[in-house]
Symmetry: C2
């Protein structure tokens, strides 16, 4: 999936707002363009946001003037990138790393080279992580597997094969996947537009449904497991992910269907003790109150449009990262993992 690519003078991304109708690429050659693209969801998905921002730090250094103040100028660009979206921790971790590299660089030229090497390494690491997560998740599934997913946790959300969808791709490669049920994912329809686009491109049968029909699918025993991605995972295993993940986890528990969260270590946040510490982005009413120019919510009605919700860890069967499965108690498993890294 052609999610993002460094062109030498900037980051080329596929404009995810236009899929599946148009495959249009955006060249983000300035920090400002890239920040606008991240804020406007032209590129989205926690790992993809983190890697994009890492490349954005390269742009920030490229935009700085040669001389003693290059660091301050580049740091300001990094701050702009950090202010784009609040929930995905990958963004902050990637920029923290780039800030460290910038501080350690003796010159602007050295900074640009080191930041680019770092962004490329993050990209490569994400690609490898997605393959490892795919293998770990696929090992949970038998033949003729049918799974359910929410939003887009695929190649478009990462630099590789995705998180939750990496499991689908690997199961499909092994000849064991028969179908993916994809929540359409209101309000921005990442499931209908992006997940279905990716999976049909890969020849994987996919059924798109309203988010509220997932309970009917679970009740009918049509899927063996639910796999979703994450935007931030707290130390106790609480999971911030696209709004709708929490009710899906509640329904999966109700029907005894395993509920797996697939995310690389870059999505784990040791600074958040639990989900209550994760900031949840509130988005504008325009995403809900009109459909392509036609008003659907009366102007005098209020709108509640949180981008994410926080699923308590007790509803999660297991977390899947590039090191494999994490089982309960999650706090201990996560602490052990972060000690190792």
């Amino acid at each position: 999936v052609p999610t993002l690519a460094w062109t030498g003078c900037g980051l080329r991304i596929i404009d995810q707002r236009l899929l599946p109708g148009r495959e249009k690429y955006l060249d983000c050659d300035t920090v400002r363009d890239l920040a606008t693209a991240i804020r406007g969801l032209a590129v989205r998905g926690a790992p993809a946001i983190g890697i994009s921002a890492a490349y954005g730090a390269v742009l920030a250094a490229m935009e700085s003037e040669e001389g003693p103040s290059f660091r301050e100028s580049a740091l300001a660009g990094i701050e702009t990138l950090a202010s784009t979206r609040p929930t995905a921790v990958n963004l902050f971790k990637a920029l923290d790393e780039q800030r460290r590299i910038l501080q350690a660089s003796a010159s602007r030229a050295e900074a640009i080279a080191a930041l680019l090497a770092s962004a490329c390494a993050m990209r490569q690491s994400d690609l490898e992580a997605s393959m490892a997560m795919g293998a770990a998740g696929a090992s949970l599934l038998g033949d003729d597997a049918r799974i359910l997913t929410h939003c887009n946790a695929g190649g478009l959300a990462t630099a590789g094969l995705g998180t939750a969808l990496a499991v689908a791709y690997e199961s499909h490669r092994l000849g064991r996947l028969s179908r993916v049920f994809a929540d359409e994912t209101r309000p921005l329809l990442q499931g209908a537009r992006l997940t279905a686009w990716e999976l049909t491109r890969a020849g994987i049968p996919v059924t798109v449904m309203p988010d509220s029909a997932a309970a009917t699918v679970l009740a009918a025993g049509l899927v063996q497991a639910v796999f979703v991605g994450a935007d931030r995972i707290a130390s106790n295993g609480d999971v911030a992910n696209k709004v709708g993940t929490f009710p899906l986890a509640i329904a999966a528990r109700h029907f005894g269907v395993p509920f797996y969260v697939v995310a690389p270590l870059s999505t784990f946040d040791p600074c958040c003790a639990d989900g209550s510490a994760i900031p949840v982005e509130q988005r504008g009413r325009d995403e809900l109150d009109s459909l392509r120019g036609r008003r659907i919510v009366p102007a005098s009605a209020d709108v509640f449009n949180p981008a994410f919700d926080v699923t308590p860890s007790d509803l999660v069967t297991a977390l899947i990262c590039e090191r494999g499965l994490l089982r309960k108690p999650f706090d201990r498993a996560i602490a052990e993992l972060t000690r190792q890294t």
Copy 2:
């Protein structure tokens, strides 16, 4: 709410597909027009469908030729109306009653008069039922009440004040309602378009949200109860209602929030022992796969678009009908009630 009115030569309905943008009225002066309006959801909501069809039987009689075959001709019109939508039992009960009246009529003129009187009586009865249900439901709420609802179970779904929303109107009249949270209700957005339109017209504060944000609202303790309508209630209390009701009931149970189903006796079906006997309408992919002409689901992806789901009675705190509250065990409470009627 100007849902439906008999004009003397037909049924005038507000075209609910165009709300809230346009208040346009459709004059359905033939069985064919009315059947098209019901099938196309210009008029929807179980009680409103039943009453509309009852008036449609008048049109069927009006369209028949004077003479010995008037009954057969009118019966064919009634069959057309019965084939419009499968789930709301109000449709079939209203038409059964009209069929009985038609059979008992000695002449075409007598049939028309008797069918019209019957349709008007159903309309009046629905209006009174909505007031009784509103009072019964409001008695469950204290001051500063905040409730959550799904789809549109308001005046637009009935000939009166609605079912679930009758509770809101009555609480508001008593000065005890502070806010209604309304699921937008994908795919046809009856919550965003219709519920918000009705409530804001009545001066009731309403917050519209994606269906998948309801769990966040429940988790935060923002509402004291959930009130929904129904399209058919089986003898054991299982409830068919707009898709999304079932996951909402599961979430309400998870958070310990009372979950009330509000429906007149015309929605109870003694012929269905439980929810598995209720036919669930499957609707076309066009409702999901495009937004005002723009494709959002790739053509090669499948679509699952059930109009309803069936909530098992164990997730329902109480049923509210015009006779008051029905508590568990529902099978006994419902049997007692249907014996009385």
